[in-house]
Symmetry: C2
Amino acid sequence: MNPVNAIKEVQGKNKSMLCVGLDLDQKRLPSEYATAIKGWYDFATAIIDATKDIVCAYKPNLAFFEERGPEGISLLEKIIQKIPDDIVVIADGKRGDIGNTAAHYAKAMFERMNADWVTINPYMGYDSIRPFLDHKGKGAFILCLTSNPGSRDFQLMHVVNKPIYMYVAEKVAYWNKEDNLGLVVGATHPEQLADIRRVAGDMPILIPGVGAQGGDLEKAVTYGTDNFKHPAIINVSRSVLYASSGSDFADAARAEVQKLNSIINSLREKDNKENQTE
Amino acid sequence: MNPVNAIKEVQGKNKSMLCVGLDLDQKRLPSEYATAIKGWYDFATAIIDATKDIVCAYKPNLAFFEERGPEGISLLEKIIQKIPDDIVVIADGKRGDIGNTAAHYAKAMFERMNADWVTINPYMGYDSIRPFLDHKGKGAFILCLTSNPGSRDFQLMHVVNKPIYMYVAEKVAYWNKEDNLGLVVGATHPEQLADIRRVAGDMPILIPGVGAQGGDLEKAVTYGTDNFKHPAIINVSRSVLYASSGSDFADAARAEVQKLNSIINSLREKDNKENQTE
C-alpha cells in the first residue's frame, strides 16, 4: 500500500492523528522500569497495549536506544515487533548522508528495523534522500522547520526572498513523484506551518513540539491539515509516556491520548459542521 | 587532552593527515570476508594493523554497521577497541536533533562507542550541537559543504550575499569557545574550501571526497590547511579498503595509504622549502 494511504487508513480506523514518541529515558521512567532492558521492554509494551487502538503511529527516537549499545538496538527491534501491522512506525533518526551511505541507512531502518517511515535531514540534498524513495510502500519525512530554538540558526534565514525552510518544502514537494515523502514541521511555529501546508500538496506533515515543547495543539492541527483537508500526524512523547510516574503509567498514558484525541476530533466536528452550514 | 591537540599530536607522530573510513560493504569486501560478522571483524582489524602507524584517524561509517542490527553495533564496538588509543576515532553518523535527544546521541557515541570525534548536521542549529560540547576531550565536526552532488540543493544557496555554508562556517567558528569543533568540507569543492579555511581559524577540517568521489588531493591538502598552517584530516575510504579485492587487501591498503602520505608530505616539504627561501 502507498505509505500515505496507510497513514490515512489507520487515522480513520482509530479516529486519531496522534503519534506517540517512544523516547525511553532512564531519568524519566518509573524507577522499577528505569534500568534493566527488560524494564524498558515492559514499559514500552505496556504503553503500546494501552494506546494501540487510539493512535495512528509510534515514533521510536533512535538516540535513546543507541545509547544502550547493541542491547538497545535489539530491544528496539523487539518493541517494533509488538506494534500492530496497521499502525505506522516512524524510525526517528534524522539521518542524511551521501547516496552510497544513505542506501545503507534505508536498509537499516526499512528492512532491518521494519519501520514504515523515517525522518531525514535535507542539508545534504537530493542524493541523500533518493535511496529512501527506492523502497516501495515506505516513506520519508524530511526535516523542514523544526520545533527547537536552534531552528532560528539556519532554517529561518532568508534566501533571496524566502526562508530556507520554504525552499526545503518546495524542493521536497517537487521530489515527491511517488507520494512517499512528508515534512517535519514543529508546532512551535504555527504561522509558518500554515505557509508550508500551502506548498506541501497532499504530503503528510509530522508535527512534533506539542506538549513538553509548548506548541499549540489546535493551531498545529488546523494549520497542519488546512482544516482537515490534508494528512498530518501530531507527535507527543514525554507528556504521554510520563503522564504518571507511578505504576498506573499505562492508564495515565491512555487517558492523555484520549484527551488529546477528543480535542482534535471536536475540532474536526466543528469544522465539518461549519462546512455543512456554508 | 584537548581534542584538536590530539589530532595534531598523532599527525606529527605518524607523519600522516590521512583518515581511513571504515565503510564495510558486503558488496565490496573480498568474498571470504563479505558475509559473516567474523569476516568483517577480521577484515577491519587487518586494515587497522596494516595502517595504524601511517594514519592519524579511522572513521567508521555508522550506516554500514546499523544495517546489520545489534550484531553490527557490537562489531563496531569491538573494532573501535582494536584502534590504538592515540589514533583519533571519528564516529561518522551525521546526527543532529533537539537538545534533549542530542544529549543521548552524544552519550551513545562518546561514552558507549568511545569515539573521540563525531560528525554532526547543523540544520537544527545550536541546541542540536551544544550537548556534544559538554564532553571534555571530545570534538565534533559540523557538516559545512559536503562532497556530494546534493550539496548544491541547499548548501550552495545564497543568503543575502553569502552561501549558506559560509554562514555555517562562521557560526561554528563563533560557537567554538572550547576548541572542540571542526568542519566537514568535501574535496570536490576546492575553491570554496579555501574560503572556508579563511574563516575557520585553527579549527580542524575533515575532508572527504578524495578518491572514489573525484576530489583533487593536492588542492584539498593545501587549501584545507592554508599551506600547512592549520589542521586538516583527509579521509579516504573505498580507495584504501578495496585497493585489492584479493587476499593481499591489507598490504594493498597500506601501500595506498603510503602513496597518499608521500604525496602529502612532499607537498609539505615543498612548502617548507619555499618558506625558507623567502
